[in-house]
């Protein structure tokens, strides 16, 4: 926002110079450099230097990366994590898109309340919301109870919990609010007369969706991707609580390395994940426009 057109009374509100609001960004910049960027650099160094019992020696090594990349078990878990994250992102988009559209169609008076209802409880008790799924998917859980009561089953099924399936279900549940919020923001700005115009010109609903709606809401779709796919690569609580031995994700392996004080190997693993993530962000940054959240940057 430029200063000139907001000032109608003739005076400058803030003088440029040492008191400029620009200096406000400096404390957070310093904080992020020391406690966010620096730790990442140190982690990078830890992955390529030889470390003996907490003592760092200035000797370069590729062993940590080779240990990780040559181990088929770890590589398989990494590939599975990426595939599972992609599946969760796709499911979130499929469920959230019509849901976000539904929200934009609600009467104005209740729209913001319904939106808050989507987000509000999901800012809190992250651990307990994952944990609560045990009472739904478990052997004595709600689903088994219901199936037994209706006589569809004679004994409880076990395949609902402690596998990849339960990890996907619970992750989709965790990330739907973020995805919905991002899509809602895009759909809210969508000029619906464009949809009507496409219909008038004879396009079938499916074609209108693919050729008009999706391209116009692409920023929301990319933002959802960033807010679902990236955190999924680092999801630890869900696989640990509901994944069991089969549902293990790459972060479970990373955490066990750190807990065994094998900082070098653990760091190398984090850097392989981070490299993957950075490639994706750079590819999507233009389209996603994270800065739009601030409404500025025009």
């Amino acid at each position: 926002m430029s200063m000139s057109h907001t000032l109608t009374l003739g005076h400058r509100v803030q003088r440029p110079g040492p008191l400029s609001p620009f200096i406000g960004i400096l404390p957070l910049t310093a904080l992020d450099l020391v406690l966010f960027v620096l730790p990442m650099i140190v982690m990078g160094l830890a992955s390529i230097l030889v470390i003996h019992e907490f003592h760092v020696t200035p000797q370069l090594t590729a062993d940590n990366y080779l240990f990780f990349l040559k181990n088929p078990l770890y590589l398989n878990i990494l590939i599975k994590t990426v595939l599972l994250a992609a599946a969760v992102t796709a499911l979130c988009l499929i469920i959230s898109y019509p849901f976000a559209y539904f929200l934009t169609k609600l009467p104005r008076s209740i729209q913001s309340t319904m939106l808050v209802l989507v987000i509000l409880p999901f800012w809190t008790s992250y651990l307990l919301r994952v944990y609560a799924w045990m009472t739904i998917l478990g052997e004595r859980g709600l689903i088994n109870r219901a199936l037994l009561a209706t006589g569809l089953l004679d004994e409880p099924v076990r395949f609902l919990l402690y596998n990849n399936f339960s990890v996907v279900i619970v992750s989709v549940y965790l990330y739907i609010p973020y995805c919905t919020l991002a899509l809602y923001t895009s759909l809210e700005r969508l000029d619906t007369s464009l949809l009507a115009a496409a219909m008038d010109l004879g396009a079938r609903p499916w074609r209108v969706f693919v050729h008009v709606m999706v391209p116009l809401t692409l920023p929301g779709i990319f933002t959802s991707f960033i807010f679902v796919f990236i955190p999924m690569l680092g999801e630890y609580v869900t696989p640990t609580l509901v994944g069991g031995a089969q549902g293990m994700l790459i972060v479970n392996v990373v955490v066990s390395q750190f807990q065994a004080l094998r900082f070098g190997v653990g760091s190398a693993m984090v850097f392989v994940i981070a490299a993957l993530t950075m490639c994706l962000i750079l590819a999507l940054r233009r389209a996603a426009r994270l800065e739009e959240i601030f409404g500025g940057g025009r």
Binding site: F36, P177, Y236
Partner: protein
């Protein structure tokens, strides 16, 4: 267009309702089982009780963890709110090169998995700096993770701010500092209070970054983690119910403060 808005197709209604059920089912069940007599913390439903709530207050480790959480939050809230507010002012009221990239950068700690950030901080704190993990190292992690929320909350309020009010005060002869303290700050205050409330709830619930930075003085999520790894227990259901109610009340207040007139 007005006609289109009022008509929602039936499948859309059904889907919308189903998503709400999906989102609230685990929470409703957690609350439900916290009042259930069965010591399994799950089915079968055997009767109504408040025993699990009574048991909470006798849990020594829970009370310790709660105390640790309050200390970390009490240290995190002023620091994160102040730094976040300053940054929101900087972003809303000045133009500088690469502003877009900078905005994306400061939001990164919201997206980067907390547990990996915690692992990176652990390497800095222990082998490099030789510190002992404590409430203080955990607080450092919490400040990094929660400050972006404070920036967003205050920025939301600032973008709805009518700058002609500042100009009016300046026209009437107020110096910049007076304008800031007597006009700008009171008007932005609801955003700052909302930021503090959000930082408080996020800090209370932060698991990822705490995991590797807190050492032996575990916070509430660390206590819950130790409990839930062993499966479902009724006292955890009761604790969860209290935490959910508490967070909904606090965040509800924050939301009211951020609502534009």
């Amino acid at each position: 267009m007005a006609a289109a808005r009022s008509r929602i197709a039936a499948p859309l209604w059904i889907h919308g309702a189903a998503v709400y059920v999906f989102l609230y089912l685990p929470i409703v069940l957690l609350i439900f089982f916290s009042f259930n007599k069965s010591p399994l913390g799950s089915f079968p439903v055997t009767g109504l009780t408040l025993d699990w709530y009574h048991e909470l207050f006798g849990e020594y480790f829970l009370i310790q963890a709660f105390r640790n959480s309050l200390v970390v939050a009490a240290l995190t809230v002023p620091v994160a709110t102040t730094i976040g507010t300053l940054c929101a002012f900087g972003l809303a009221r000045s133009e500088f090169p690469l502003k877009g990239i900078f905005s994306g950068f400061i939001l990164m700690p919201m997206v980067v998995p907390g547990i990996l950030l915690g692992a990176a901080l652990l390497i800095v704190f222990v082998p490099v700096l030789g510190l002992k993990l404590s409430i203080w190292t955990a607080t450092a992690g919490h400040v990094v993770v929660t400050t972006p929320y404070a920036v967003l909350a205050v920025a939301t309020r600032l973008y709805g701010y009518d700058r002609r009010l500042d100009a009016a005060a300046a026209d009437l002869g107020a110096r910049p500092l007076r304008v800031f303290l007597h006009v700008t700050l009171p008007l932005v205050m609801p955003g700052i209070i909302a930021a503090a409330l959000i930082v408080f709830t996020v800090s209370l619930d932060t698991f990822g970054v705490t995991f590797f930075t807190v050492g032996t003085q575990g916070t509430l999520p660390m206590y819950i983690w130790a409990q839930v790894e062993n499966g479902v227990t009724p006292t955890i259901n009761a604790l969860g119910t209290l935490l959910i109610v508490f967070s909904i009340v606090v965040l509800g207040c924050a939301n009211l403060l951020l609502r534009r007139r």
